[in-house]
């Protein structure tokens, strides 16, 4: 479904990704793992078009998307939930959600999506009128994901949903994401929280210093010595 071939990318002169290739299949829950600062976020930014790769190609559903502007990539059905949420803090929850469905003109569809989202996140339904800026960290995360869903995406890129969340909430968020894959949304998750993540995803890639160092199903990765050593602290 999504395929990155030998991507190099970065900001100006600062190269971040080197020769990254990965593949996400439809309906799967895939994680991109690795410590902070290795380029996971950059990878997502490159897929979503915010960063243009200096080399390599990105394919989505048989269409080359590298080099397209962000809006067009969004319209193809890729929804990117950033780590800071990119919320419109001066707007209400409801308005934020409606912005999520900006590209969908069919009002009935928007309504359905809203219902679906409120079902997933009942908390948001209670706080429809609240300003996004005045919500707590967990609620903001939910809103960001909910907004990402409003687009009716085929693929969701989710960046560190665990960031700044209490462990209990992290679980909730992960479960929600898992549920999404059951209703047909493919999810590419970026996480540094290796243990938790590997328990829930189908497969994963490990990024180190801008390059993919390991890949495999979650089972394989959990048993991988290198990962055990570096990330799980099991020597």
């Amino acid at each position: 479904m999504l395929k990155l071939c030998n991507i190099n990318a970065g900001y100006g002169k600062l190269g971040v990704l080197w020769n990254v290739s990965l593949e996400v299949n439809e309906g799967k829950f895939v994680a991109l793992l690795g410590p902070n600062g290795v380029g996971k976020t950059t990878a997502l930014r490159t897929i979503s078009g915010i960063v243009t790769p200096s080399q390599g190609e990105i394919w989505f559903m048989g269409k080359k998307i590298s080099g397209l502007p962000v809006q067009q990539i969004t319209r193809l059905g890729i929804s990117y939930v950033t780590d800071d949420g990119c919320l419109f803090s001066g707007m209400t929850v409801m308005e934020n959600l409606l912005m999520g469905a900006y590209t969908i003109k069919d009002k009935q569809k928007v309504k359905n999506s809203l219902e679906k989202v409120f079902e997933l996140f009942p908390r948001l339904a209670e706080r429809k009128k609240q300003f996004a800026g005045s919500m707590s960290g967990g609620e903001r995360k939910m809103l960001a994901i909910a907004r990402g869903l409003m687009l009716e995406p085929k693929l969701m890129l989710v960046d560190e949903p665990s960031l700044g969340l209490a462990p209990k909430l992290v679980l909730d968020v992960f479960k929600t994401l898992k549920e999404l894959t059951t209703i047909g949304v493919t999810v590419l998750l970026v996480e540094q929280n290796v243990n938790t993540t590997l328990k829930i995803v189908d497969s994963g890639y490990v990024l180190e210093q801008g390059s993919i160092v390991e890949e495999g199903s979650s089972q394989e990765l959990r048993e991988n010595d290198h990962i055990k050593k570096t990330y799980m602290g099991i020597a």
């Binding site: 002169k13 600062l14 971040v16 960031l163 700044g164 540094q192 243990n195």
Partner: protein
């Protein structure tokens, strides 16, 4: 003891970014500060380097209270820092970048240019010295920033993720450089994510999570601390 913080707290609106953090850094050591993203490490560093004024707590440097002093004053007292995203003066030449710090760093030099050049050689800055900083690559900029920080005659160097963005092959060189800086008599506090780097250079580390310090001690000790594991790697039991 070179630097000591006692119960430092920093808030942004309702959010407590740093909560009651106390650490002690001894002269001549490399002190690591780790923790997951958003744990408040950079905020804490900003409190020490004077960019933020903490709401509560006290920071002492060489037995002197320095809480709330401006970065400029702190620089003159001997605290220098680098930034997470490398900051240079893009339209000045590399040499001038360092010269600014030599001239204004608080100590008079007879020949600032010469001193700056020596420092650039020391950190292994390999490009031509009269190139505009705008034209340098990350590695060169990082070395330049280090030279600039050293140029202020600092006794304490605060490094914010210096190793981020380096390729694995560049890392050993860099670790070596940090060690050499320490050996020249500069105490270092560094925030880092790259574990190899932490394990390679740090004498002691402290771990922050949700703005609070959850552990402090020698490297081995910390890495096996269950509390830290949980913070970093998440809850063990997921169903």
């Amino acid at each position: 003891m070179l630097l000591k913080t006692e119960g430092v707290e920093k808030r942004f609106g309702g959010l407590v970014a740093v909560k009651d953090v106390s650490i002690t850094v001894n002269k001549g050591e490399i002190f690591g500060l780790i923790g997951p993203n958003g744990a408040g490490k950079t905020t804490f560093l900003n409190c020490i380097s004077g960019f933020y004024k903490p709401e509560k707590g006290k920071i002492t440097f060489k037995e002197q209270e320095i809480t709330g002093l401006s970065p400029t004053q702190l620089c003159h007292k001997g605290i220098a820092r680098t930034f997470q995203i490398v900051r240079s003066f893009p339209k000045l030449s590399a040499l001038d970048n360092v010269k600014v710090a030599v001239v204004y760093g608080g100590k008079q030099h007879k020949n600032p240019e010469k001193h700056a050049k020596e420092l650039m050689d020391f950190v292994g800055f390999n490009a031509a010295k009269d190139v505009l900083a705008d034209n340098l690559n990350t590695m060169q900029l990082k070395r330049l920033e280090l030279a600039r920080a050293l140029a202020t005659n600092s006794e304490l160097l605060l490094l914010d993720e210096v190793a981020a963005g380096l390729t694995p092959s560049e890392l050993p060189d860099f670790i070596d450089l940090i060690r050499r800086i320490r050996d020249s008599g500069v105490t270092i506090i560094c925030i880092e994510h790259v574990m190899k780097f932490i394990m390679g250079v740090c004498d002691r580390i402290a771990v922050l999570n949700f703005g609070a310090k959850i552990a402090e001690g020698a490297v081995e000790e910390i890495l096996n601390n269950p509390e830290v594991m949980k913070a970093y790697l998440g809850e063990e039991n997921v169903h």
